[in-house]
Amino acid sequence: MQSRSASAPILREKSLEAVRLDKVGMRYGRVVALESISFSVQEGEFFSLLGPSGSGKTTTLRLIAGFDRPSSGKVYLFGQDATHVPPYRRAVNTVFQDYALFPHMNVRDNVAYPLLIRKVPRTERYRKAEEMLALVKLEGFGDRRISQLSGGQKQRVALARALILKPRVLLLDEPLGALDLKLRQEMQVELKRLQQLLGITFIYVTHDQGEALSMSDRVAVFSRGRIEQIAPPKELYYRPRTQFVAEFVGGANVLVVGGKRFALRPERIRVVKPSEGILGRVEAASFVGYGNQVEVRLGDGTLIRVLMAGDSVFTPGDEVGLAWDADALWPLEE
């Protein structure tokens, strides 16, 4: 089990606060999108907003970008109240989920757009655009039309366009959602590389817990307009605060022992002889590539997922015993 001090190395003690939300609530008519959330993100941090769809993570990102005003609470950027500052005056740029590239401009003009707005002369504009295209490995694509690009290339153009102003905070709204698995993994590495190279704060919205865990310094887990837990990835995984975090982030089993809830990770459970552990019946066994997942129904009706390395010899209906070490049970808050 991880120790409590598993804090990200990038967080220096004297680091500055890039973004802070103070009791921010958001309602659309009678629908409450955000209850009253507070958190702060340090400069240079890779901070993820993780949660299922409709949990409020994109709403939060839009409030930081300035597309919406919160119904209550305040948004601070670099220590200053930015709650009522329009997006075009915020030193924050966004990579949109569907890229939002301008279809009437070629790749170069898209990337150079923020400089056009700032009336930078054309040669300077295009020189910088080429630099950014090189940074995202799209040299020579300047003259292409947006419609000629693949999803991955559009993603890189959107990134180059959002980075050309050297923003201090980059907001990313499920940027890899539309890409296939292999490309997504490539881009994860790429994004992390860029973030460390440029030293920019990344606020990253995703519903993919694997993505959030592998890239982030810290993750805020959202559920129904609330933040369930904010912690570094390992802490989230090994020390979930609530049942929701345990199940959503790590796919953990939740057991009720003596009226209290405990999280139990699938890979920490051993399958033993029926006489040597808690008795259960195998309901399903499936090959998942890196191992086998076995679902076991206990006597009290609880379904337990077990992750086993190596070949599974079980078939549905088999009687098995389950066992785990005492420290594998992690207590959850009610």
């Binding site: 597309f67 329009p86 075009y88 740029n93 966004t94 757009y113 923020p114 707005i117």
Partner: protein, 302 residues
């Protein structure tokens, strides 16, 4: 039997296409193109001054008369200027409406807006022109309201502008422009709104996120993406104004428009060749306009 027919058509898509396309082809080919060709070809003949009969010997004399006689050239230029002004006015008025409907309405609200935009088309064109005339007349509502608001001075100075002005709004080019713009406005709003509907709404957010103020976002994103719609709409407003003969007959100063000449020449005057030559003018001008629009890149983002 019917099933057998369906099977046959399904297996032979070309046959199906042929069956479906024959009626419209006959319609367009015979009635539309045929009559148009027959009529326009008359522009290359002339009328015998003594007998009043059409001489079926090809000549460019009739066309030449349209373009060289000062009185006729005047008519062409007057019509062209009105068509250009009407198109510009329609563009200016249509853009905000189209942007609003496209970006800020949905569901029932949008339906109501679209209904309001096309509502004028439900009533007779003649009725609409007459109501325009009533509003603009010397003793009309507009003059009355201007009087009540103490704005007679504004109206008077408007009417005293050279060229556009006149004794009253309904007998001035300015009034003519107002009515033309009113009558053709829906034909501009709808294509522009249609073009903007295809613009992803987050492009505006992206622009503002990247530093564009609302005005700059409009100029650099909305306007360029509205251009195909503006081009399509302007083809309507431009060609409809070029060809119209009722509005300048009922309103505005005495000077003739191309449409009126076509009407008079083929009707009262019985000079079919000259009427045909006049009706070639809008065709030629629209062709030139389309070329120009294409050169300016109006159709690149279609």
């Amino acid at each position: 039997m019917l099933g057998l027919l369906a099977d046959r058509l399904y297996m032979h898509p070309r046959l199906l296409l042929f069956v479906l396309l024959v009626p419209p082809f006959l319609w367009i080919g015979v009635l539309y193109l045929g009559s148009l060709f027959l009529f326009l070809s008359h522009a290359f003949f002339r009328i015998d001054d003594f007998t009043g009969q059409i001489q079926y010997r090809p000549t460019l004399q009739t066309l030449g008369a349209v373009l060289t006689t000062p009185a006729n050239l005047d008519i062409v230029l007057r019509t062209l200027a009105m068509a250009v002004l009407t198109t510009l006015a329609c563009m200016v008025l249509a853009l905000p409406v189209a942007v609003y409907v496209s970006f800020h309405t949905q569901g029932l609200q949008r339906l109501i807006w679209l209904l309001l935009i096309v509502l004028p088309l439900w009533s007779s064109y003649l009725i609409r022109v007459y109501s325009g005339k009533l509003i603009l007349a010397q003793e009309g509502i507009l003059a009355w309201v201007a009087g009540r608001l103490g704005l007679e001075g504004v109206l008077a100075s408007l009417l005293s502008t050279p060229l556009l002005g006149g004794p009253s709004l309904s007998s001035s080019y300015f009034g003519l422009l107002l009515v033309f713009t009113y009558i053709w406005l829906p034909y501009m709003i709808l294509p522009v709104q249609n073009a903007l509907d295809r613009v992803p709404k987050n492009l505006l957010q992206a622009a503002s996120d990247l530093g564009a103020t609302p005005w700059l976002a409009f100029r650099t994103v909305v306007l360029p993406l509205a251009v195909p719609g503006l081009a399509a709409g302007s083809i309507f407003t431009f060609s409809l104004t070029l060809g119209d003969y009722i509005i300048p007959t009922l309103l505005g100063p005495p000077g003739y428009f191309v449409g009126q000449m076509v009407y008079i020449q083929q009707g009262t005057a019985g000079d079919l060749p000259l009427a045909a030559a006049f009706s070639l003018v809008p065709v030629a001008l629209v062709a030139v306009y389309l070329r120009l629009a294409r050169k300016l890149g109006a159709f690149e983002n279609l």
